[in-house]
Symmetry: C2
Subunit: 393 residues, 2 copies
């Protein structure tokens, strides 16, 4: 494929060629040899790495279904209980909702997705099988990683460890976890199962951690220690990590340094009302921090749309990223940073990088974030999958 007259994030205008899923060459406009087919002249539009959705719940979304009135809940435990009731009342099948949302996300410029999938003693592996089927159905246009997510806990929900084991054997890619203290009340018991399953199946890990304050920060250090002990550097993600927005300077510094040393990635959707990880300070310690959609129109929130430029804008406003450099950092948080967390490599816009690309109607990366720029085209593995905003399927 030859992409002509592309404005790169650095400001240069280049022609770009791709082959076998990689960027082969970048050169001055008109300088590269043009194959007969697959020439795309983007006329100075911005060409950037396609977005990577590092944390979403494709099985929870009510996307495409009628609005389910939100029910309040005072804590995470109650929210989980509410969801276990409500999810049986959504008539549209999980497969259809997930599929439609994925196509919407693709139209927004996202070609790679990591989705958690609920596993508990009630729903068992139903959602796992649903998402495995959707992944197979859409394998030609999008890459999907699935995380075995114990939404009701492991220790307190009997049989979940075995179900997670079965899910991993069936093709699920990562081991999930959830609030070892807050949900299971047994930090070591929970982490024994998570790291044990990862070792047995040779998988990476992605843990939800809402636990706050000193307890949450302590769990982060426990996870960092186990990560190093298991040789899982650069293969563990912790999502939310609200505690990093609550603890004192000394605790923060010690925890951040250990996260960096273990190569643990932190995901923040930066929800406005709660304390969130201070992104700039974490990056200062060398921690890889990325942003993601998390809940989209589900029992946790009726809001969310799967647009990662929208998320970058939310992160900027939550973290006070107003300077150009900071806004560019937010753009990295939805592209190269989640790629690193998801072990998608090499990722960027240089020779040899994977050729997942998005074409944006914007004069710069900053303007793309500020204006949530229109997505013109999306290229996945060197093939056009969205043209003029329409998914080619």
């Amino acid at each position: 494929m030859l992409i002509c007259n592309a404005l790169l994030p650095g400001g240069q205008v280049r022609d770009v060629t791709t082959d076998e899923g990689r960027i082969v060459a970048l050169g001055e406009p008109g300088s590269l040899s043009a194959p007969k087919t697959d020439v795309l002249d983007i006329e100075g539009a911005l060409l950037a790495p396609a977005f990577v959705e590092g944390h979403v719940h494709l099985d929870k979304t009510h996307f495409g279904a009628e609005l389910v009135p939100h029910e309040g809940a005072p804590d995470v435990q109650t929210r989980i209980a509410v969801e276990r009731t409500l999810r049986h009342k959504v008539s549209r099948p999980v497969e259809q909702r997930a599929r439609d949302l994925i196509l919407r996300m693709l139209s927004f410029g996202t070609t790679r997705i990591r989705s958690h999938v609920d596993i508990d003693s009630d729903i068992k592996l139903a959602n796992v099988h649903a998402l495995l089927a959707v992944r197979e159905q859409l394998r030609d246009i999008v890459d999907i990683q699935l995380v075995a997510f114990p939404q009701s806990g492991i220790v307190r929900d009997p049989g979940v460890a075995d179900l997670m084991d079965a899910a991993l054997a069936a093709g699920v890619d990562l081991v999930g976890g959830l609030d070892p203290h807050g949900i299971d009340g047994d930090i070591d018991g929970h982490l024994d199962v998570v790291f044990g399953l990862a070792a047995r199946h040779g998988k990476s890990i992605d843990i939800h951690l809402h636990d706050g304050g000193a307890i949450g920060a302590g769990e982060l250090r426990d996870i960092a220690a186990r990560t190093k002990a298991h040789g899982l550097n650069d293969r563990v993600t912790v999502s939310h990590a609200f505690s990093l927005g609550m603890v004192d300077e000394l605790t923060f510094g010690q925890t951040a340094a250990q996260l960096a040393e273990a190569g643990i990635s932190i995901m923040t959707s930066s929800p406005p009302p709660v304390p969130v990880p201070p992104v700039a300070r974490l990056r200062g310690y060398g921690v890889n921090v990325f942003a993601a959609s998390d809940n989209i129109r589900d029992c946790w929130s009726p809001f969310g749309n799967g647009d990662l430029l929208d998320r970058a804008s939310i992160v900027c406003q939550r973290q006070e990223f107003f300077a150009n450099e900071d806004i560019r950092g937010a753009f990295e948080m939805i592209s190269t940073a989640p790629a690193r967390a998801l072990s998608i490599s090499p990722y960027g816009i240089a020779q040899g990088d994977l050729s997942d690309l998005v074409v944006l109607d914007a004069p710069s990366v900053e303007e793309a974030v500020i204006n949530r720029a229109r997505r013109l085209h999306v290229i996945r593995r060197g093939r056009l999958v969205v043209k003029d905003g329409e998914v080619l399927i």
Copy 2:
């Protein structure tokens, strides 16, 4: 004008007629007499009161101009100083930027706007004259109230009181104010000028109040007491009022009760990183609270777009308004609540109400907020000013 097959916010489908800027009748589809001209069949789309922008800075915006790199500032005083330098570097004239932003806001469904306009010893009345000219130019399609806003203070910036006096004589509608303690360091001196000018010109008041904690809450009570003493009930707005998100329960309750008694409206744009007024609790005390855009692509923030549905969505996520009733409350915060603050009355979708209306591609008010629904048509004083998303000018 006859609007056919309108879905009303309450869920009924009705035909609606308007005349001389008012809603004349609502009836079952087909039941009202149809004049030969101006029939608009909206085929079940949502018909709602047009949006009211109660707090924007039309003279500050760089809308339509190149992005001015944001410069950090540790406090409000420094931010003001930075702005006084940067504003001379934007080559596009204030009139053009303001005009283009107003037309964009109109396309988003906003037909009435209250804009602050900077007055200080440097810029004097230049921006006042610019916005008065723009208002005159666009008087056939939009209503604009202007506030004489002392962005650099009154007491500490010599001559500003006289400039504000001249602005009010020249056609500016309201007296503004700014952090009597934080900027002027003279609460009584500042409020003497503000309430004095209001009395002399027979005008309403709209004060910016960033001052936090007990000091800010004390100023709110001072403003409430002066409002009652001057007989200005329902004619005073305080914008931001961050202190209401910082003080103890007792102070909050006493302050909220006094605000309600004086009929003071509170504006919150609910910026994510700072403590903001707790909207639900304030409403519980009977305080009129509305949401607005505030800064749009200016020296204070490069973000913002003038879309009040976007703002309602931000407020919902900041204030955890996820239940249907709360989301409908957020919709009121961009329509009927600012109308009340701006003394635009009677406002709503009942017989006799002003016929400023917006047609939304949404099956309910909740879905309109959640999905930032497409604006189809906008009606101002019973006349179509936006058709199929295009401003008719």
